[in-house]
């Protein structure tokens, strides 16, 4: 009876390397791979976060709805024109230079609006591109 039990235990020990050894329920030899595995996973997660930060390009906003995107482009464009025209109007009021400053600044505002729209669209494109490739080239 003891012989059978010992043989069984020995075979058990041989096959699965101290998994269910009654003397050492939680042996350090089996605990170490677990913690080092955890350390590996923590390291991997930290690396992933660091890589995400290094990319610097927002990748989280892909879920912005189409409506929000369209409105964003529209407001960026219109706001630049309004600001440009407003600056020109103020210059005209202060300097008394007819409509000219307002007209010129209106054009400038138009250009700034186009610039804003290009920036926004480039940003959207960078976001939709596959992360990790040349996503941070646009900016």
């Amino acid at each position: 009876m003891p012989g059978v039990w010992l043989g069984g235990a020995g075979r058990f020990f041989g096959v699965t390397n101290s998994k269910n050894d009654p003397d050492r329920p939680v042996p350090p030899s089996s605990g170490k791979p677990d913690t080092s595995d955890l350390a590996n996973r923590i390291k991997k997660a930290q690396d992933a976060r660091l890589a995400a930060n290094g990319g610097n390009v927002a990748s989280r906003q892909g879920d912005m709805s189409a409506l929000a995107r369209g409105l964003r482009i529209g407001t960026e464009f219109v706001a630049a024109i309004l600001v440009g025209t407003g600056i020109g109007y103020v210059i005209d009021q202060v300097a008394g230079t007819g409509p000219w400053a307002m007209l010129i600044m209106f054009m400038m505002g138009f250009a700034a609006g186009i610039l804003n729209v290009i920036r926004v669209v480039a940003e959207f494109n960078a976001r939709n591109a596959a992360p990790g490739q040349d996503a941070d080239k646009v900016d």
Binding site: A52, A58, R60, E76, M105, M108
Partner: protein
């Protein structure tokens, strides 16, 4: 209340603190008043503070459901700031988090019937966006000094183009607070008016009699759909505001384009 779609935005005084200046007659001087707008701002701030304090009170290493929800909120905003402004931007995390939760809860409050939506007033959104811009400009100059002005001079541009490009860049920069505030204000104002108009159709068609009663079903469906849309817009606009804030802060931290 249901008849006029603009009436929901009326600001009235709840109580006044007193008047500065003026000659004693009504409508003269500056009256400091606690308005319904202020009331809902206080309620919003109180709700956020109570939520965060109560849910994180346990400080469990293994969070319970409530703590998990506020930790998810933290992680959401923290990832947004990190991805837009980098790890350096995390020093502005409290600022962005406050703005995001304030706008988000304020928008959501506005979706409750008879509640006031303070984000539907452009002065509120403009004040918030000017705050963002002031932080960007002041921090940009404090951190980078005159190098912050490189924001307006793109690198790699030939010298004779710079006089043309720089004013455009300046206008583009100055248009940011406008577009930031107008976007949030416009979305909230337009959405609430649309909601009110469509649900107003239900009442006016329903009072027409039998045929109108059936006709009222259509705007009722629209009202339900627009309510769902408005919830989405409220959340998305708070998100957009916070994302753009962190992107502008990124310009203050790394001013070279």
């Amino acid at each position: 209340m249901a008849d006029d779609p603009i009436k929901q935005f009326v600001i009235y005084d709840i109580f006044t603190f007193g008047t500065i200046g003026g000659d004693g007659t009504p409508e003269s001087g500056i009256t400091l008043a606690f308005t319904n707008s202020a009331l809902f701002m206080v309620l919003t701030t109180g709700l956020i503070a109570a939520y965060l304090i109560l849910t994180t009170r346990g400080r469990g290493l293994v969070p319970n459901r409530w703590q998990l929800s506020s930790e998810m909120l933290y992680e959401f905003v923290a990832n947004m700031v990190r991805s837009s402004a980098g790890t350096e931007g995390m020093k502005f995390f409290p600022f962005v988090f406050s703005l995001f939760t304030f706008i988000f809860v304020g928008n959501m409050f506005g979706m409750i019937p008879y509640f006031f939506t303070f984000t539907s007033h452009i002065i509120v959104t403009f004040a918030m966006s000017m705050m963002v811009m002031l932080v960007v400009v002041i921090y940009g100059f404090v951190k980078n000094g005159p190098k912050f002005l490189k924001l307006f001079v793109p690198s790699g541009v030939p010298g004779y183009i710079i006089p043309i490009v720089t004013p455009i860049e300046v206008i583009s920069f100055l248009s940011r607070p406008i577009s930031l505030s107008v976007r949030l204000f416009g979305n909230m104002l337009a959405g609430h008016i649309t909601l009110k108009v469509f649900t107003g159709f239900v009442v006016s068609l329903g009072s027409l009699g039998f045929l109108g009663f059936f006709g009222a079903v259509l705007p009722l469906f629209m009202g339900v759909a627009i309510t769902a849309l408005e919830f989405m817009v409220s959340a998305v606009q708070a998100y957009v505001f916070a994302v753009l804030t962190s992107m502008y802060l990124n310009d203050a931290i790394h001013p070279s384009h």
